[in-house]
Assembly symmetry: C2
Homo-oligomer: 105 residues x 2
């Protein structure tokens, strides 16, 4: 099992609305994440819009993203989130993997 | 159980040495973290020295830090790490909590 950390950026002036959408993520999107093996997945925000993601998977980030890329629901969700992205691109196209260097069970 | 995300900063030109020390964290420091209830604790680095931490605890970050603050070994470890800190202060004095806004088991 791998522990994956990544980051991306959301427009800070749209954080409240972005956060609200994440209280109501589409059930089909949650199912797709589960089926793609994204476990114990959490997202955290900094006040300026920097987002940190953490999840556990049998796969690395590239493979876990590719499994989501293969689903139609992910394309719809990412397009829905694109206006909130700091880069004006799909958020999942801006995921930057971080290097894990310490772990304690 | 709470899922806690936080960040701090390490001097980017000392990241390699800092990382090396984390392959050999003192066993007494690991024991203190376990006894203070820091579970499934991972640290991730960005190339510029931004560090993201994730752990699970029955307590919030302030209480989890206070439990470590009460141990002598934590003071020794934090002093050992201070030269690597971007702020030249103890790393644990610069932990900034992030806001969790999404979770999928």
């Amino acid at each position: 099992m791998k522990r994956i950390g990544f980051q991306f950026k959301i427009k800070h002036d749209r954080l409240a609305e972005y956060k609200e959408h994440h209280q109501h993520v589409w059930p089909e999107m949650l199912d797709a994440l589960r089926e793609a093996g994204w476990h114990n997945y959490s997202l955290f925000m900094r006040a300026d819009g920097l987002i940190f993601g953490y999840f556990e998977s049998e796969e690395n980030l590239a493979v876990a993203l590719a499994k989501m890329e293969a689903t139609e629901i992910n394309a719809r969700w990412q397009e829905f989130m694109t206006p909130f992205s700091d880069s004006n691109a799909r958020p999942d196209e801006g995921f930057t993997e971080l290097e894990g260097y310490f772990h304690l069970d």
